[in-house]
């Protein structure tokens, strides 16, 4: 049986090989820094060059009603629309609302789960960006509470 360490060692080798060959995927993509630094929901869309989204039942967002701690809030976004180019995740009242954007790939379900920080209770948005530039959202309010001793 392979130990975990052996697997990891080998991963390192693989990484080195890929790096050496310049084969690492995603290298061509220019990180949209402006969008991630935008201070409001609207500004994030401006920075991305996208119109403000409209609500759609074909975009889904799963997040807890109440987060015991804002440092880690699990969120799953999904869409049943066809022609989705990318999926955005935003937390409306965060200092920088844009959390993540996933480029949709036909080999993978349009369903991504990650965890975001939330500074305060507010709406969370999953947004589907279509190939034609249209944008659709699903929204959910998440309450952020205080947990333990508060110190």
């Amino acid at each position: 049986m392979q130990t975990r360490r052996e697997v990891l060692k080998r991963s390192g080798v693989v990484a080195a090989l890929l790096l050496g060959a310049g084969l690492l995927p995603g290298a061509a993509l220019a990180y949209q820094k402006n969008a991630f630094e935008a201070k409001s929901f609207e500004d994030a869309f401006k920075a991305l060059g996208l119109p403000m989204p409209v609500e759609s039942a074909e975009v889904m967002l799963t997040a807890p009603d109440i987060a015991e701690n804002g440092a880690v809030v699990p969120m799953t976004m999904a869409s049943s629309l066809s022609g989705v180019k990318k999926m955005l995740l935003l937390v409306e009242k965060n200092p920088s609302p844009l959390i993540a954007q996933f480029m949709v790939n036909a080999a993978v379900d349009i369903q991504y789960q990650t965890r975001a920080k939330m500074g305060e209770s507010c709406d969370v948005y999953a947004v589907a960006v279509m190939a034609d530039g249209k944008t659709f959202f699903a929204r959910k309010e998440v309450k952020v509470t205080l947990g333990g001793c508060g110190g």
Partner: protein, 215 residues
């Protein structure tokens, strides 16, 4: 009723020996003290003096550890000495601003070794009590204080009928052991955790008919 009878029997059986022995302040078990002294170190504002117990803490700890309630005599003695030491508002004014009271109730900071020395302490209230209905993150170690004033019929804090409740509430915040010898609640006034001005804000939070607590 039952409790009193039992105690009476105890006193009869053990004669006068129990009382003087228990009312003396003696150090807790030496081995325990050695372990405490060797296991902790002073850090920030939390010095080694924090490990010392006063008479009330020593008796209550012993009662907790033994699983037996404090004797009625010890309990009464703690209540009386605690009550005597309550400082009533120097200006005779019991109330402040309930909005500031709510802020204090939310604030759990103060007095730990990681807290900045000299910074204002919070009241820690929501850690243990339900207070305003809108705050859902409340603890349950203490009773709910929602509608505290309303349930006690306070519609005017200046009314004669309100006076005993006002006094009790101030006393309870100052030193809960004046009413319950081994209360788990911190002695906010007695141990200088909150200032008189801060206690007044909490009084308003609990008793002011306009406070969200009484809506």
């Amino acid at each position: 009723m039952k409790k009193i009878t039992t105690t009476v029997i105890c006193i009869c059986a053990l004669g006068g020996m129990v009382l003087p022995a228990m009312s003396q302040s003696e150090p807790a078990d030496a081995a325990l003290q050695n372990t405490l002294n060797a296991s902790f170190r002073a850090e920030g504002q939390a010095g080694m003096d924090r490990l010392l117990q006063d008479d009330a803490n020593r008796l209550c700890s012993q009662a907790d550890a033994s699983g037996k309630a404090l004797s009625d005599e010890d309990a009464e003695r703690i209540r009386q000495s605690s009550f005597k030491a309550i400082a009533w508002p120097t200006d005779g004014q019991f109330f402040g601003d309930y909005k500031l009271g709510e802020k204090l109730a939310q604030d759990g900071r103060g007095k730990t070794w990681s807290d900045k020395p000299g910074s204002e302490n919070g009241g820690n209230c929501y850690n243990c009590h339900q207070i305003s209905k809108t705050e859902i993150a409340y603890g349950t170690l203490g009773p709910s204080l929602y509608n505290y004033g309303k349930l006690r019929g306070i519609s005017d804090v200046n009314s004669v009928t309100a006076k005993p409740i006002i006094d009790y509430t101030w006393g309870k915040l100052w030193n809960p052991r004046a009413y319950n010898a081994c209360s788990s609640m911190p002695r906010f006034g007695h141990n200088s955790l909150l200032t008189q001005a801060q206690l007044k804000h909490l009084m308003s939070l609990l008793l002011d008919p306009q406070s969200p607590v009484n809506q």
